[in-house]
């Protein structure tokens, strides 16, 4: 059991204005099939403690995966030394905490209690379904990755927030070879919260169609076209453009959206929302500074 009070006590003794700790404990379990035989099986547990503190008016940071009697000294000394070299004029502060938080329990008990054997069996069935979905499918590789994370943020103002989440990710790549010996490849993936969520027939059909649809394709002549974007392609396009919306880029004038607040930046058919409170495997009711998460309209 880690006594985090030691870190705050030591920070106070060293005249820190404030200190924040983020503690992440992660368990991972994964395996992969190649042509319906297990070829890899992995498991792990890991720990990391990240600290940032205000010393001499500047924000120093450090982190450690080693937890022993020297960890407090390591983190506090590194933060102090680093803070003394900083000369950024940005005002620094550690967020004290929001008035209220919209908590939700997103921990998937079914996924946590299912045995490794049950998961292996379900993925083997899925992998087999992909293999038998078409005669043209030659090689199939399916990976199952499961992660459970226990995330805690604490600060010297007394804030303590904890979130425990788990999810699984299933990824399949397939190659198909046609009569002309032409090879095509495709992949699909799903985030799931229960292995029962996997519809192997639909999954197999989707990847088979995605792979085989590429046969007989011809190069597209360059030019200006009217284009229809699938939701997946639209997501990729928007994700690339939306990197411009980060405050870091905007503040430092390296964003195409700098100084454009309340101005027209794209077609009026486009509305983009940021919804951290949506119940999915990535839900957390607070961000990495301890600010209560809330949904917002960006564009």
């Amino acid at each position: 059991m880690v006594k985090y009070s030691k870190f705050f006590k030591r920070a106070k003794e060293e005249n820190f204005e404030a200190l924040e700790l983020i503690v992440k404990k992660t368990d991972r379990f994964s395996f992969s099939f190649f042509n319906n035989e297990i070829d890899s099986y992995k498991m792990s547990n890991s720990f990391v403690i990240s600290a940032r503190g205000i010393y001499n008016g500047k924000m120093g940071t450090a982190e450690s995966e080693k937890l022993d009697k020297n960890t407090v000294d390591y983190l506090i000394n590194r933060i102090k030394e680093n803070a003394l070299l900083l000369d950024s004029e940005d005002k620094t502060f550690i967020f004290e905490g929001s008035k209220s938080y919209k908590k939700k329990n997103v921990f998937n008990k079914k996924l946590a209690i299912a045995t490794a054997e049950e998961k292996v069996k379900a993925i083997k069935k899925l992998d087999r379904a992909v293999r038998s979905s078409s005669e043209l499918i030659k090689d199939v590789s399916t990976q199952y990755n499961e992660e459970t994370q226990d995330y805690t943020i604490l600060n010297s103002y007394g804030l303590k927030l904890r979130s425990k989440t788990n999810y699984a990710h299933v990824y399949t790549s397939a190659t198909a070879v046609d009569q002309k010996n032409e090879t095509k490849a495709a992949f699909i993936h799903r985030f799931i919260s229960d292995i029962a969520d996997l519809d192997e027939k639909r999954y197999a059909q989707e990847i088979a169609e995605k792979t085989i649809a590429q046969f007989g394709s011809a190069p597209c002549a360059s030019g200006r076209y009217r284009c229809v974007f699938s939701p997946e392609a639209t997501g990729s396009l928007l994700a690339a453009w939306l990197s411009n919306i980060s405050a870091e880029q905007v503040q430092k004038k390296s964003s195409l959206l700098a100084d454009k607040l309340q101005q027209k930046v794209c077609s009026n058919k486009i509305t983009v929302t940021e919804e951290p409170l949506r119940k999915n495997p990535f839900f957390r009711y607070f961000d990495d500074e301890g600010v209560a998460a809330y949904n917002k309209v960006l564009i």
Binding site: K42, S46, S88, E89, A185, K252
Partner: protein
């Protein structure tokens, strides 16, 4: 990091259910990043990374696990948990382990962490100033220095115990230029396993700073790139990223052993034009991607991948060597203990040819000079790729005419190698971070200036006017 006696106990626990091989990999890595943003020291971040990975083989099955708990109890528990994957009787037992000694290269005499950070900050601030002062359109600059001091210890059931110390530093620069609603971002990096003095005195970081700012400013006034099939001259150094991504990854045993690479089963066959030879060389003293030993404890090697256009060798790790029935060749790498190692590139480059870069440009009637490559994507099973060119110029009648923006190179690794018709004598290696199955690892990419006789170029400047 752990005693030999404990290592033997752990290896024997790991193999009691039938594994025919087991390995313990222990790592302690102290790394730091110093970042100067717009001339101000904005962050300095220290990380102590610490953990161990245990790997078991049973025929063509591998089992891997890792933990930060390096106590006897923690490591034995991990070995027991992994051994549950098999249910056979014991095949091997470790009785003794012998320390394998190797020459210690690639190690700075003064560790990076002992070097005064004030001097590093001074170097970064100077480079930032050069970028900022280059032109008034430069709106943002960042200059970073990152280093890593990694101690590695490996024990395995072949009775081998190896230790290694790996120390790397990298200085990276970024310049953003903006004008009339256009933004251009350029990056460069210089990395090595050398003394800090190498970065302060031998590397002309200010010259790099000037060039990166110049590229960003130049591209602000570029015209739209024409599209169509045409010859493309790819500049030396980072131009080698196409070879790395579209050909190099397809030569790794990870995909070759399963028949998932376009180059599977092609050893001894022509896969490139006869003027193309390429190597992966993990032995270059002090180079960014080099190593004394690989992450399975095997000596690193210079592997001749392509000789005069003929496929000569793959990059093979111990596990995939079982599937391929070929010996591993010192090419197994991983980001950290969190990753199971597999075949990866180290310093990979096309060897120099006979033409001067000037001759290559002069003999091109119409085409594109791709001076600076950007990001791209590759489908490993087919080798099809798509790469953006960050800095490109139109070539007409043997002369570079003007910069062009938005150029994309579209092709396949298999075809592009066969269409190389000129290779320059100006080999240059540059430093990057390569991401794949076993994480992100330091790797050099490189090549001399080369010409592809014909490749599809995407662009918004209208169809190619051939001459």
């Amino acid at each position: 990091m752990i005693l030999k006696k404990l290592a033997i106990e752990i290896l024997n626990i790991a193999t009691e259910t039938g594994a025919d091989f087991a390995e313990i990999y222990l790592e302690e890595d102290s790394h730091a990043t110093i970042s100067v943003d717009n001339g101000k020291v904005e962050t300095i971040h220290d990380v102590l990374s610490y953990g161990a990975g245990i790997r078991l083989f049973n025929g063509l099955q591998s089992v891997y696990g890792y933990t930060n708990d390096l106590t006897s109890k923690g490591l034995k528990k991990l070995a027991r948990d992994l051994a549950v994957s098999f249910s056979e009787t014991r095949k091997i037992e470790v009785k003794t382990i012998k320390k394998v000694r190797q020459k210690k290269k690639n190690q700075p005499k003064i560790p990076y962490e002992s070097y005064p950070r004030e001097k590093i900050v001074e170097m970064l601030k100077e480079a930032s100033k050069v970028m900022k002062n280059y032109d008034e359109s430069v709106v943002r600059t960042t200059a970073n220095f990152a280093y890593s001091n990694k101690k590695v210890e490996i024990y395995n059931t072949d009775g081998r115990h190896l230790t290694d110390y790996r120390s790397r530093g990298i200085a990276s620069l970024l310049a953003v230029a903006a004008k009339e609603g256009k933004i251009e971002t350029f990056r460069t990096a210089k990395g090595a396993q050398k003394e800090m003095e190498y970065f302060i005195k031998e590397t002309d970081l200010n010259l790099e700073a000037k060039q990166v700012a110049a590229s960003a400013v130049t591209m602000l006034s570029a015209k739209d790139c024409p599209s169509g099939k045409m010859p493309v001259v790819i500049g030396n150094g980072f131009g080698g990223v196409i070879f790395h991504e579209a050909c190099g990854h397809s030569l790794e045993a990870t995909s070759v052993s399963k028949g998932l690479s376009v180059f599977s089963g092609k050893k001894g066959e022509r896969i490139a034009s006869s003027i193309v030879s390429a190597v992966d060389d993990g032995t270059i003293e002090g180079a960014w991607g080099s190593g004394n030993i690989d992450d399975e404890g095997n000596k690193t090697r210079r592997n001749l991948l392509i000789k005069d256009g003929i496929l000569n060798s793959y990059l093979i790790d111990d596990f995939n060597s079982r599937r391929m029935n070929e010996k591993s060749n010192g090419a197994s790498r991983r980001q950290s203990y969190r990753f199971e190692p597999t075949s990866r590139m180290s310093n990979t480059f096309i060897l120099p040819g006979k033409s001067t870069p000037e001759e290559i440009i002069a003999s091109t009637r119409y085409g594109i000079y791709a001076k600076n490559m950007g990001g791209g994507s590759v489908t490993p099973a087919t080798g099809e790729f798509n790469f953006a060119v960050n800095e490109a110029y139109l070539i007409k009648d043997g002369k570079i005419i003007h910069p062009v923006r938005g150029a994309t190179l579209i092709g396949s690794g298999k075809e592009v190698l066969l269409h190389v018709d000129m290779v320059g004598n100006d080999l240059r290696r540059e430093q990057g971070t390569c991401g794949s199955k076993s994480g992100y690892i330091p790797a050099d990419v490189g090549q001399p200036t080369i010409r592809i006789s014909e490749i599809t170029v995407g662009g918004t400047g209208g169809k190619v006017k051939n001459g």
